[in-house]
Amino acid sequence: MNKDRYLSLFYILFGVVVIIVAANIKTMFAVASEDTGPKFFPYIVGVCMCLCGIGKFFSSKDKKAKQFVKSKKDWLRIILISSILLAYAILIKYLGYVICSTALLISLAILLADEKKPKTWKVIVFSVAVVAVVFIMFKYVLKISLPEGIWIKAIRKAIF
């Protein structure tokens, strides 16, 4: 079985899950008798997803699919960069915008450069400068609040 067929099975399964989840949607109040209600649209999507999965399963030819990544190791790269992003999203609540953003920029600027390792001082100057500009722009010019960080706030309160 080729990749397309596995994907088709996934779409069929996904369609079934959508139908099951849609069946459990609670209607807030009785809808007009002609109205289809809030479940109908997700149902249709689920059913069509199953149909498309079936259609794809039978129309897929056994040709070699285009490779998504060169080697299996490249999946690790995807996991690595996604975890950095996820760590940022989680830690921003605790460590605040400035610290997290600087760390994010430093790690990404090094990571994305691959073998051509950029000079450390350049990366640090770049990260601090960009964070400073964006922070001042959002916080003071646009007056949009950015997280200070629960831990940083606690430390600040303890000291002052």
Partner: protein, 502 residues
């Protein structure tokens, strides 16, 4: 009435602060358009939160200028390094880059910049002229017609998307499903929010675009080792590169490309990404020297750059008059209009004519500003294109996160963005096209609301969608275009079989 509206529009535009915003927005747009990997939608999505804190008039001017700037900026990447800056400048590489290789970079840029200007100004003028008529027609449309129009738009995008049709349909279904998250229209039932607070209001369009396109691109590129610096352009730029005489000589080519672009832009879901290719193909077949196309024929540059910019005006018309955006940039502008307290749709031109015409005039102004900045900063663009990948895209990630955070003041939305980046990984892995997904997502609420309204207004059930002539015609077009490719394949196979039998 028009005189009053326009005097208000001009009084609001020609204020020093707003002119400054126009230049700033345009410069941002040009840079985002020029650099391959950054897109028009990304520029708009990143700076939407900025526009929200501005007064509505200034916000509209800022966004309209980002939009026109970014649509024009794509030509720089295409011509200088042979990598299109935006999808609407793909065909510009066919002849623009060979011109650069032949030592005619300045000429190619000059032609492209002036062509973009002609395309934008002409199409925005047409949009301004036609909008009142279309909005009057739109007032006659009921929920049945709007449902069928949205359905037809999604199906048309599925049929023109690359790869097989099943993938296009599946992508569109994912889009429709993603839009179902949150409270349902009409009765407000909770759907697919799984108790996550930030999902109750639905997946934010700006967050979706930032996650899917900005973060998603960075993640996929890193996995596929595409995080390399683009080749840095080595060109000497002198003069303006194009003369008035040349423009007059190419007037028929320009006019034809203009109308192709305008019409394709008007069709929902298509826009500059398609019009530049169609216009290029038409210019080649109409040319006296088709064999020179692809080797640096200036006609190829005229054709693509007039057409892709002419699509701007076309794309704005359905957004303003029907409230139906055809692509992601217009969706983002539409969502900003809603935040500014406007109601896009047939009533917009009557209820808030100043805002509507301000958008048009700001785009018109945007074309002039883009022309000035492009020619004025001609020598800066090779430098902008040589910014190292690692610095550029890490800054984009930070801006995306900051912009997304400001939408809801919580870090849950950042996780939603990351989830959408993972969705982008899946889409690339499975070979699903993103255009149908996006249009499905954008039009899904209109599709559902109008379907349900259409059903409750009469007691004829689903038949009502077929008994109304316009709605029926649109549905027939949709179904026919879905089956046409396979029918055509069979017909061609039959013809071939008949020929070989002879």
């Amino acid at each position: 009435m028009f005189a009053e509206v326009f005097s208000k529009v001009f009084a609001n535009i020609f204020v020093p602060g707003n002119i400054l915003l126009a230049f700033g927005g345009n410069a941002i747009g040009l840079i985002f358009g020029a650099i391959p990997g950054l897109s028009v939608s990304m520029a708009l999505a990143l700076f939407l939160p900025v526009s929200y804190v501005l007064p509505s008039y200034s916000g509209i001017i800022f966004l309209a200028n980002i939009y026109t700037g970014a649509e024009s900026g794509g030509l720089f990447g295409s011509i200088l390094i042979g990598i299109p800056g935006t999808t609407s400048a793909v065909a510009t590489t066919y002849d623009g880059y060979p011109m650069t290789q032949n030592g005619q970079a300045t000429k190619a840029l000059g032609i492209a910049i002036v062509s973009s200007f002609i395309g934008t100004t002409g199409s925005v003028a047409c949009a301004m002229l036609f909008s009142p008529f279309i909005s009057k027609l739109a007032l006659m449309m009921g929920p049945w017609e709007i449902f069928s129009l949205c359905f037809c738009a999604i199906v048309l995008v599925v049929t023109i998307s690359k790869g097989d049709m099943w993938n296009g349909l599946i992508a569109a279904l994912f889009g429709v499903l993603f839009a179902c998250v949150g409270f349902s229209p009409i009765d407000g039932a909770k759907r697919f929010s799984f108790g996550i607070k930030v999902l109750l209001g639905g997946i934010n369009t700006t967050a979706l675009i930032l996650g899917l396109f900005a973060l998603g691109t960075v993640v996929v590129n890193y996995g596929q080792h595409k995080n390399q610096n683009p080749p840095s352009p080595k060109v000497k730029l002198r003069g303006l590169g194009v003369s008035f005489k040349e423009l007059i000589e190419n007037r028929i080519l320009i006019l034809r490309s203009f109308f192709v672009g305008l019409w394709i832009g008007f069709l929902p879901g298509m826009g500059g990404g398609l019009s530049n290719q169609v216009s290029y193909a038409m210019a080649r077949s109409a040319s006296k020297h088709p064999e020179t196309f692809g080797h640096g024929n200036p006609e190829g540059v005229y054709a693509t750059e007039v057409a892709n910019n002419a699509s701007i005006g076309g794309a704005v018309v359905p957004m303003i008059t029907l409230g139906i955006p055809g692509d992601s940039p217009t969706t983002l502008i539409l969502s900003a209009l809603i935040v500014f307290g406007l109601e896009p749709g047939p009533m917009l031109l009557q209820k808030s004519p100043v805002h509507a015409y301000l958008l048009y005039v700001a785009m018109f102004l945007g074309a002039f500003v883009a022309l000035c900045l492009s020619f004025g900063g001609l020598r800066a663009f090779p430098k902008i294109l040589s910014v190292p990948y690692n610095y550029l895209f890490s800054a984009v990630v930070l801006l995306s996160f900051t912009g997304a955070y400001s939408l809801s003041n919580s870090n849950t939305i950042l996780m939603v963005c990351i989830a959408l980046a993972v969705v982008n990984v899946f889409f690339t892995f499975a070979g699903l096209p993103k255009a149908p997904f996006l249009l499905g997502f954008i039009l899904s609420p209109m599709l559902e609301t109008n379907l349900r309204m259409g059903l409750t207004y009469t007691n004829k059930g689903f038949w009502v969608f077929l008994t109304r002539p316009v709605s029926c015609l649109l549905l027939v077009i949709a179904v026919a275009s879905l089956f046409w490719p396979s029918v055509r394949e069979k017909l061609e196979a039959k013809k071939k079989a008949a020929k070989t039998a002879d």
